[in-house]
Symmetry: C2
Subunit: 360 residues, 2 copies
Amino acid sequence: MTIFNFAAGPAVLPHEVLEQAREELLDWRGTGMSVMEMSHRGKEFMGIAAEAHADLRELMAIPENYKVLFLQGGATMQFSMVPLNLLRGKLSADYVNTGIWSKKAIDEAKKLCYVNEVASSADKSFSYAPGFAQWKLDKEAAYVHYTPNETIGGVEFNWVPDTGKVPLVADMSSNILSRPCDVTQFGLIYAGAQKNIGPAGVTLVIVREDLIGHAPAGLPTMLDYKTHADNDSMYNTPPTYGIYMAGLVFKWLKKNGGVAQMEKTNIAKARLLYGVIDASDGFYTCPVAKADRSRMNVPFRTRDAALDAEFLKQADARGLLQLKGHKLAGGMRASIYNAMPLAGVQALADFMGEFARSKG
Amino acid sequence: MTIFNFAAGPAVLPHEVLEQAREELLDWRGTGMSVMEMSHRGKEFMGIAAEAHADLRELMAIPENYKVLFLQGGATMQFSMVPLNLLRGKLSADYVNTGIWSKKAIDEAKKLCYVNEVASSADKSFSYAPGFAQWKLDKEAAYVHYTPNETIGGVEFNWVPDTGKVPLVADMSSNILSRPCDVTQFGLIYAGAQKNIGPAGVTLVIVREDLIGHAPAGLPTMLDYKTHADNDSMYNTPPTYGIYMAGLVFKWLKKNGGVAQMEKTNIAKARLLYGVIDASDGFYTCPVAKADRSRMNVPFRTRDAALDAEFLKQADARGLLQLKGHKLAGGMRASIYNAMPLAGVQALADFMGEFARSKG
């Protein structure tokens, strides 16, 4: 049975990428070694890492005055590393609160500085992206942090705020590389790899050079961006196989039209699912304001938990997997990252239509 | 050509493990998913992680009052996490300095506490393991830290110190699972995976429960062992594929006689190489005191750098790869972890003999 995996992350990877990984698993290009067995300081892996860097720079048109770092610890580690490195002697930072992931970032930052919650969608259960006119920004803030796509809530910003001279920091874990992005609008972008980049265990950080080198004295070496920037992310042993896999995904993106083409397909995929929801006469509901609906994570539910459970059971039997919503959200969630083919989304849309007709 | 990979880490993995990984890469046991694509909270990956934990506990006979954590950031991150978590209000910790890796641990600890260097082999260029009678231990120290095997220097402790009530902490990155080890002698053991466990990007921590939960208020959540202990190492997305690979290595170890059998083979492997060195009439030299020679990392050199370079070139042509010594040490180094077969060591020993005869 063909299966389609709608997991929120770790998530589906491009089939061709996995096939290449299998092909090369025991012997990378005649070296007799698996990539997993290569010294990170050897010419083979150094080449793999350099290509991954160059391809990502090309895909995102990353300017020369930005460093690209491949770290460990996930976005959660970045929740701390961002304030530790970017406060630069300042006492407060601005945070936008749009749901569970921004709240986690806020809670970690509160351990290290005063957090000014400059905008929030808490008033409507985190179901929308607060308009920029409502953001009460502080010109003295060390930086402004927001979450362009809330993986659990399914809320995505369709615009990038202009925070002037205050550096903008974005947790792009769940929508990086899914749409064009002007890196120059950001001071720092971070993303866990396990949604649109590759396997779990790699964390991407793109940071403007002038924001590096301001960590307080005594900070553990591993928590200082400067350590990793000065050593091309090889201060200690990096997660080599994850970087290799990310590199294969970058090649796949380039071969398939890059980020611009991804956006077109992602819009088409999202329209299919929201189309079924909106045409279902209330059988399916999505809690998110239409203008702010995520192209990556589509949360929806039926009228009650019992029917949701039946939906999930039938979906599973058809090979439409991992559609259960996050435990804090309930219902269903379809994560449709770059690697989810249109055919998978079509199969889900078809099933949703059938299920609604059979139960409606 | 059969190759043998003597890299110090990332290092050779068991051939059967890589073959199984290839076999399962696109479809893990009929799920239609790669392990890399599985939600870390799904039943499939939860099962994989639970088995890896159980197998490691069995292999090392880890008592119930110890937690096993699979973290990220390598041993280098542990150089900071150990003092951050284990100081427990105390002001100093005892460190044994036996070379480059213990020095790195000391330098990080010095950012966080007073470091009492209780023993050192600096007087003889870090070529031996200081006898326990020379350790000037402080009964008030928060813990005693040492490096049972110096990966670069090739010095290994053949005994475990008895530090009484002061917890003993060991960086076992390069000799864990290579010989039996009584976990109850330690308060905390840590190890980067990329030598004897699996691919880079996973860090193993085995910690006695009473040492968990003493982190200072305000510590970033990710740096607190309690976070990971309370959440079975799934507070955030773990490096899932690396944990899967480690699990396969644990199964391979169990199938091949466990740690006791590994030790026997490792002794035989080490004897082969040191035997050639000692019988070479000074053509090859190893700087390490005989009693403290590492079974895992065998450093040696010829009379000059030009001859070393020729050795490396000829070795490479024969498929004896990655034998170059660390840049700080020079010469050669053969890393012969569990996954290096006796045949590989025999091939190297044969070549060393031939090379010596041709140049002697």
